[in-house]
C-alpha cells in the first residue's frame, strides 16, 4: 500500500465533486497560466517542471515531464531546469545559515 497512485492524476477532475465552482475557477486559472504569452509554452513547461520537482509532487512531475516533451524540450534542457530549482532550494537552506551566524553572534562575546 502506498499513498500515490498513477491513475489518480487522471481522476483529478473528481476533486470538483463537492465544490465544482472552485475547481472550475482553479482549472481556468491553471490552464490560462500555461498558454502562450510573454513566455512561450515551452518556457512555461520548463518552469512547471522545476516547480513540480521542488514541491515534490509526483503527479505534477509526470504531467510536466510530458508537457516539456510535447513542447519540444530535450532531457538536457529539462535536467538544467531541475538543477536550477534544486540549486535554489539548496541555496535557500544555505542562506538561512546566516540566521545561525546572527544567533551565534548575538550570544557570543
Amino acid at each position: 500500500m502506498h499513498y500515490y497512485n498513477e491513475e489518480d492524476l487522471g481522476r483529478f477532475g473528481e476533486i470538483a465533486k463537492h465544490k465544482p465552482e472552485l475547481f472550475e475557477k482553479f482549472l481556468a486559472w491553471y490552464q490560462a497560466c500555461q498558454e502562450e504569452g510573454a513566455l512561450s509554452k515551452r518556457e512555461k513547461a520548463l518552469i512547471g517542471l522545476a516547480v513540480a520537482v521542488t514541491v515534490q509532487c509526483p503527479y505534477c512531475i509526470d504531467a510536466f515531464t510530458n508537457s516539456c516533451l510535447e513542447n519540444g524540450s530535450n532531457m538536457e534542457q529539462m535536467t538544467e531546469s531541475i538543477h536550477l530549482a534544486s540549486a535554489i532550494r539548496g541555496g535557500a537552506s544555505l542562506v538561512h545559515g546566516i540566521q545561525s551566524h546572527n544567533a551565534h553572534d548575538k550570544v557570543s562575546m
Binding site: 509554452k41 516533451l69 510535447e70 513542447n71 519540444g72 530535450n74 538536457e76
Partner: protein
C-alpha cells in the same frame, strides 16, 4: 472487402481506445474531397528498422512493387492528370524501378515527393541519389526525429544520426534547401509516447541547431504524430504505454482537423496495386469501401472523389492536437 487484420502477435492489430473513433464523429462519416495526390508505397524493403515504423519496414522485407504496377500508376497519373505523386516505402530508392518511376512521373508533369530516410544514400549504388533528385527536381522529405544524436538513434538505430547529417550536407551541396526549385523538408516524429510540439516552434529550433552545429539548411519541418499501429503499437504494449497514449490521443481529439486530413485528398497504393484511403489503412489492410475501385488497375477518379473513408481507432493519431498528416500539422 478485406477485413482489418484481426491480430498482431496474438493481440488486436488496432489499439485499445477508451472511446471509439466513430463515436467521436458523433455517428457521422468522413468523406473525401477531390483526389489530388497518388501516394504510392513501392515496397517494404528498407535499410533501417525504426522503432516507430508503421510499415514494419526492414532489410528483411521482400515486398517490392513490380514494373507493371508502376506503369499502371503512371497511366493513372497521366490519364487523370493527378497533380502530385508521393512515393514512399520502405526506402523507396531500393525499388529497382524507382528512378524510372520518378523520371516518368516528372515527364508526365506531376509534382513528385520522395519520402527519403537519408541513410539510404550510403547503400550500394545509391551515392548519386542527391544528383538524381536534383536533376528530377523532386521534393525530398527526410525523416529526422530530432536535431540531437541520442533521440534520433534511439528511434532509428545506432549511427543513423551521424549518417543523416552527412546525407543532409550532401543534399545541401547539390542545392537542396537553398535553391528555390529544390525543396528539402524534414519530418519530426516524437521519440516516444507523446504528441509532437508546435510545428512552428520546433522548426525554428531545428533550423537554428542544424545550421549552427552542422551548417545544414532546409525549407520546412513537418511534425507527424506516431501512429498507434504496427511496430509502434508493439513498442507501446511492451513499454506499457498503450492505455496512456491512447487516452492522450483521445483527449486531444480536435474536430477542426477533420477537414484537412490527408485521406480526404489522396489515394494510397500498396506494392501490389491495391488502393486504400491512406498508408495507415494500407498497413492494417483496411480496404476502401466495397463499391469503390479496389486496385490501381481499375482506378476511377470519378468514383474515388467524394468517397466515404474507412476509419477505425488508429485515426485518433491524425486528429489529435493540431492534427497530423504527411504534410505535417493540419490546423
Amino acid at each position: 472487402m478485406q477485413a482489418v487484420q484481426i491480430t498482431r502477435n496474438g493481440k488486436p492489430a488496432l489499439p485499445d481506445s477508451p472511446i471509439s473513433f466513430s463515436r467521436k464523429l458523433n455517428g457521422g462519416e468522413l468523406f473525401s474531397a477531390r483526389v489530388d495526390t497518388l501516394q504510392v508505397n513501392v515496397g517494404k524493403l528498407c535499410n533501417q528498422a525504426c522503432k516507430h515504423c508503421h510499415v514494419d519496414a526492414s532489410p528483411a522485407r521482400t515486398e517490392i512493387m513490380k514494373r507493371e504496377t508502376i506503369e499502371s500508376c503512371l497511366r493513372v497519373l497521366r490519364e487523370f492528370r493527378i497533380k502530385t505523386l508521393d512515393i514512399t516505402g520502405g526506402a523507396p530508392e531500393l525499388n529497382p524501378n524507382f528512378r524510372y518511376f520518378v523520371t516518368e512521373a516528372r515527364n508526365a508533369g506531376a509534382q513528385v515527393l520522395i519520402r527519403h530516410n537519408l541513410t539510404v544514400i550510403f547503400e550500394k549504388d545509391q551515392e548519386d541519389l542527391p544528383d538524381f533528385f536534383a536533376a528530377s527536381q523532386a521534393e525530398v522529405i527526410c525523416s529526422l526525429p530530432y536535431f540531437l544524436e541520442q533521440q534520433t538513434d534511439s528511434q532509428r538505430g545506432t549511427g543513423v544520426f551521424e549518417k543523416s547529417v552527412k546525407a543532409l550536407q550532401k543534399l545541401n551541396e547539390v542545392g537542396y534547401g537553398t535553391n528555390e526549385k529544390l525543396v528539402l523538408n524534414l519530418v519530426y516524429n516524437p521519440t516516444g509516447a507523446f504528441l509532437p510540439p508546435s510545428q512552428t516552434a520546433i522548426e525554428a529550433d531545428f533550423k537554428r541547431e542544424l545550421k549552427t552545429r552542422y551548417d545544414i539548411s532546409f525549407n520546412n519541418l513537418y511534425t507527424i504524430t506516431n501512429m498507434p499501429i504496427a511496430r509502434f503499437l508493439d513498442w507501446l504494449r511492451r513499454s506499457k504505454n498503450e492505455e496512456s497514449y491512447m487516452t492522450r490521443l483521445v483527449n486531444a481529439f480536435n474536430p477542426s482537423t477533420l477537414e484537412g486530413l490527408m485521406c480526404r485528398n489522396l489515394i494510397s497504393v500498396d506494392w501490389q496495386g491495391n488502393l486504400f484511403d491512406c498508408d495507415f489503412n494500407q498497413m492494417l489492410e483496411l480496404s476502401l469501401k466495397e463499391d469503390l475501385p479496389q486496385t490501381i488497375f481499375d482506378f476511377s477518379l470519378e468514383k474515388l472523389n467524394s468517397r466515404q473513408i474507412a476509419t477505425a481507432n488508429h485515426c485518433f493519431g491524425c486528429t489529435a492536437g493540431a492534427g497530423s498528416s504527411c504534410g505535417g500539422t493540419v490546423v
